[in-house]
C-alpha cells in the first residue's frame, strides 16, 4: 500500500526530470566536448583551468557569497518583524509584489537613481557626504542584486518563523534567557531549515547572474553566468559555454549536498 502511493507521486515528477532536466544536461554535456568548429575536443575543459576562467569562478563565488550574506542580514529581521505585524500576510504579499515589475525596467530605474545627478546622490549631498560615483561600482552591483533576491530570502524564513511554536520562546524567556540567548539558542536553530532554503534560493542563482552585471556594474563584474551568456549569444562557442555550465552544475550539486538535511 505504502510503496504504491510513493510510486504514484514519483511518476509525473520523474517524467518532468527526465524531459526537462536530464535531457538538457545530456545536451550540455555533449556540447561541452566540441570546439567552435564542431570537432571533438577536450580543449574546453583545459581552457577552464586557465587563470582567466579560474579568476572568474573565484569572483563569482565571492560576489554570490556577499549577495547571500547581505540578503540574509536584511531579510531575517524583515521576516521576523513581519510575523509580528497585524496584517502579516498582506505585508508579505507586498514584499513579493515588486518582483512582478519587469527586471529590465527596474534596472533602468536604478540607473537613474544611482546616476551622477540621480536621487541617491542628491540624498548623499543633502546629508553632507557629497556626490559619489555609485553606478558601475561593487556597491551598486551588490545592492541591486540584494534588492532582487530579498523576496526569495524572506519567504522561506517567514514560513519557518510562522511555524515556530511561540510557547517555546515564552518558555525560554520564563527560564530567564535574555532576548539574545533566546534568539541564538531557540529561534534561530528552529528556523535553520528556512534559512538554508533561502540561502540556496539566493546563492545558486547569484552565481549565474547576468544582465545586471552589464547594466549596473558596467561589465566590471564578470560572473560565470555572464561568460556563459557571452559564449552562447555572442561568440557562438556553445562548447565553451556548456563547459562552464557543467562546472556550475557540479558546484551546485556540491552546495546542495553540503547544506542538505542530515536527518
Amino acid at each position: 500500500m505504502k510503496s504504491n502511493t510513493r510510486n504514484l507521486y514519483l511518476i509525473p515528477y520523474v517524467l518532468w526530470i527526465l524531459l526537462f532536466v536530464v535531457a538538457p544536461i545530456l545536451l550540455i554535456l555533449y556540447y561541452s566536448f566540441f570546439d567552435i568548429e564542431g570537432q571533438f575536443t577536450l580543449g574546453n575543459y583545459k581552457k577552464f583551468f586557465t587563470p582567466v576562467y579560474l579568476r572568474m569562478t573565484l569572483s563569482s563565488f565571492w560576489y554570490a557569497f556577499l549577495i547571500t550574506a547581505f540578503s540574509l542580514i536584511i531579510a531575517y529581521p524583515t521576516a521576523y518583524l513581519l510575523t509580528k505585524t497585524k496584517h502579516k500576510q498582506l505585508w508579505l504579499l507586498l514584499i513579493i509584489l515588486p518582483t512582478w515589475i519587469n527586471l529590465l525596467l527596474k534596472a533602468y530605474a536604478f540607473l537613474g537613481i544611482f546616476g551622477t545627478f540621480g536621487f541617491a546622490n542628491s540624498f548623499l549631498e543633502l546629508i553632507g557626504i557629497g556626490r559619489k560615483q555609485l553606478l558601475f561600482t561593487d556597491f551598486s552591483f551588490v545592492f541591486v542584486s540584494v534588492y532582487i533576491f530579498i523576496p526569495f530570502m524572506v519567504l522561506p524564513i517567514y514560513n519557518a518563523l510562522e511555524k515556530l511554536n511561540p510557547s517555546l520562546v515564552d518558555a525560554a524567556r520564563d527560564l530567564g534567557a535574555s532576548w539574545w540567548t533566546t534568539f541564538r539558542r531557540v529561534v534561530f536553530p528552529l528556523t535553520l531549515d528556512g534559512v538554508k532554503s533561502g540561502c540556496q534560493a539566493v546563492f545558486i542563482p547569484a552565481l549565474s547572474l547576468f544582465m545586471i552585471t552589464r547594466l549596473i556594474a558596467g561589465n566590471r563584474v564578470i560572473t560565470l553566468g555572464t561568460a556563459i551568456e557571452q559564449h552562447f549569444l555572442v561568440t557562438q562557442d556553445w562548447g565553451m559555454g556548456s563547459t562552464i555550465a557543467v562546472f556550475l552544475i557540479i558546484a551546485m550539486a556540491i552546495i546542495m549536498v553540503a547544506t542538505g538535511n542530515r536527518k
Binding site: E37, Y108, L135, A217
Partner: protein, 357 residues
C-alpha cells in the same frame, strides 16, 4: 483543501477567459490569418506608419517580431519551427548565414526600386552582387563626446582617448570587434587584422586605457551619455545621432586613424513562407519616399541615394553621418575572419573586461 481547490479552479477559469479574449482579438485583428508577412527586425527599427501603409496598399497583414542581437536571431532561424519572411541582420551575420545556407536568393526582377540605392553600397564583399541582401541602413563607429564636460577640448582620433584628463570618463559599447578594433585602429592596423602579435599589442594598449573607462555597456549607453553620466562614448553612428537629438551639446567624430563601416541589410531567410510578399515589402522599403520617412523616424543613415532628396537638408548634408565615402579611404567593412579568429577576438575582449583598474 477546499481552499486549494477553489484557488486552482479560479486560476484556471481566469486563464481560460483571458486566453479566449486573446485569441478572439488575434482573429479580429487579422494576426492569425493566411495572408500575413512576418518581419523579424531589431526593436523599434522601422516607422510603424510605413507598416500600416504597406498593409493598406497590399492587403497583407504584417506581424512584426523583434530580436536584440544578430546571434540570437541566427539561432532562432537556424533551428526553424517558426516563420520569418523578412529579417534585417548586420553584414557579418549575413555572411555567416550565407555560409550556413540560411537565406533564399532574391529575385532582383521583383525589386525595381533597387536602382535608387547608391552603387557604393552594392556588391560588397559580404554578399557579392547582392544575391541575398539589400541595404537597409548603414553607418560608422565613432566617438560621441561632450565638449563642455571636457573644457572645450576637441577629440579627433582614437589616440585622444588615452589622454590622462579623461580618467573615468569613457563609456564603451559592449562589442568585441568594436573595442578590439579601436585598439587596432589606434595602432594603425587593419580592423580585420589576424596577426596575433598585432592583436596582443592592441590588447596591451587597451589595458592602458582601463583607468579612463567608466563602464562597458549595451544600449543604455545612449541614455547615459545623453544624461551626461560620462563625457565620451564609443558608439555606432546611428546611436550617436539619436543621442545628439536628445542633448544638443554633443558632437560626433569618426576618428582619423580609421574606423568601421557597417550595414544592416534586408534578407529573406529559409524560414519564409510568403516569399512573394517578402519581395513586395523589400521593394516597398526601397521606395525613396518610404526610405526617407524611415530614416527620419529611426535616425540612421539611409543607403538610398534618391531618398536624400526627400530628407531635410540639415540631415542629408550632415557630413558626420553622411561622410564623403570616396575621400574616407580608411573606413573598413568587417570581414568574416572565421570562427577561430572571432573566438580569439572575444577571448581578448573578455581579458580586457577582467583587467582590473
Amino acid at each position: 483543501m477546499k481552499k486549494l481547490v477553489q484557488m486552482f479552479a479560479a486560476v484556471f477559469a481566469v486563464a481560460m477567459a483571458l486566453l479566449y479574449l486573446a485569441s478572439h482579438l488575434n482573429t479580429t485583428q487579422g494576426y492569425s490569418g493566411d495572408n500575413t508577412l512576418t518581419i523579424y527586425n531589431w526593436g523599434d527599427y522601422i516607422d510603424p506608419e510605413l507598416i500600416k501603409k504597406f498593409e493598406k496598399e497590399t492587403g497583407i497583414k504584417v506581424i512584426y517580431q523583434t530580436f536584440d542581437s544578430n546571434e540570437a536571431m541566427m539561432t532562432k532561424i537556424a533551428q526553424g519551427g517558426t516563420t520569418f519572411d523578412v529579417a534585417v541582420p548586420s553584414e557579418y551575420a549575413i555572411n555567416k548565414m550565407i555560409e550556413e545556407d540560411l537565406l533564399i536568393p532574391l529575385d532582383h526582377s521583383k525589386l525595381p526600386n533597387l536602382k535608387y540605392i547608391n552603387p557604393r553600397f552594392l556588391d560588397l564583399s559580404f554578399d557579392p552582387k547582392n544575391k541575398y541582401s539589400i541595404p537597409y541602413f548603414w553607418g560608422t563607429v565613432g566617438i560621441v563626446y561632450n565638449p563642455e564636460m571636457l573644457g572645450g577640448k576637441k577629440i579627433t582620433s582614437w589616440n585622444d582617448l588615452w589622454d590622462k584628463d579623461l580618467r573615468n570618463q569613457i563609456l564603451l559599447v559592449d562589442g568585441a570587434r568594436e573595442v578590439i578594433g579601436m585598439g587596432l585602429n589606434s595602432l594603425h592596423y587593419s580592423l580585420n587584422d589576424t596577426n596575433k602579435a598585432h592583436l596582443q599589442e592592441a590588447k596591451r594598449k587597451l589595458g592602458a586605457l582601463t583607468p579612463n573607462i567608466k563602464a562597458i555597456v549595451g544600449d543604455e549607453i545612449k541614455m547615459l551619455i545623453a544624461n551626461e553620466e560620462a563625457a565620451v562614448g564609443v558608439v555606432w553612428s546611428g546611436d550617436a545621432a539619436e543621442i545628439m537629438s536628445e542633448n544638443e551639446k554633443l558632437d560626433y567624430v569618426v576618428p582619423k586613424e580609421g574606423s568601421n563601416l557597417w550595414f544592416d541589410n534586408m534578407v529573406i531567410p529559409k524560414t519564409a513562407k510568403n516569399i512573394e510578399g517578402a519581395h513586395k515589402f523589400i521593394n516597398f522599403m526601397l521606395d525613396p519616399k518610404h526610405a526617407a520617412q524611415n530614416a527620419e523616424y529611426v535616425g540612421y543613415s539611409t543607403p538610398n541615394q534618391k531618398a536624400l532628396d526627400y530628407l531635410p537638408k540639415e540631415i542629408a548634408n550632415d557630413k558626420r553621418f553622411y561622410p564623403d565615402l570616396d575621400s574616407a579611404q580608411n573606413l573598413e567593412v568587417y570581414e568574416n575572419l572565421g570562427k577561430r579568429m572571432l573566438a580569439y577576438y572575444n577571448e581578448l575582449f573578455l581579458e580586457f573586461k577582467m583587467h582590473k583598474k
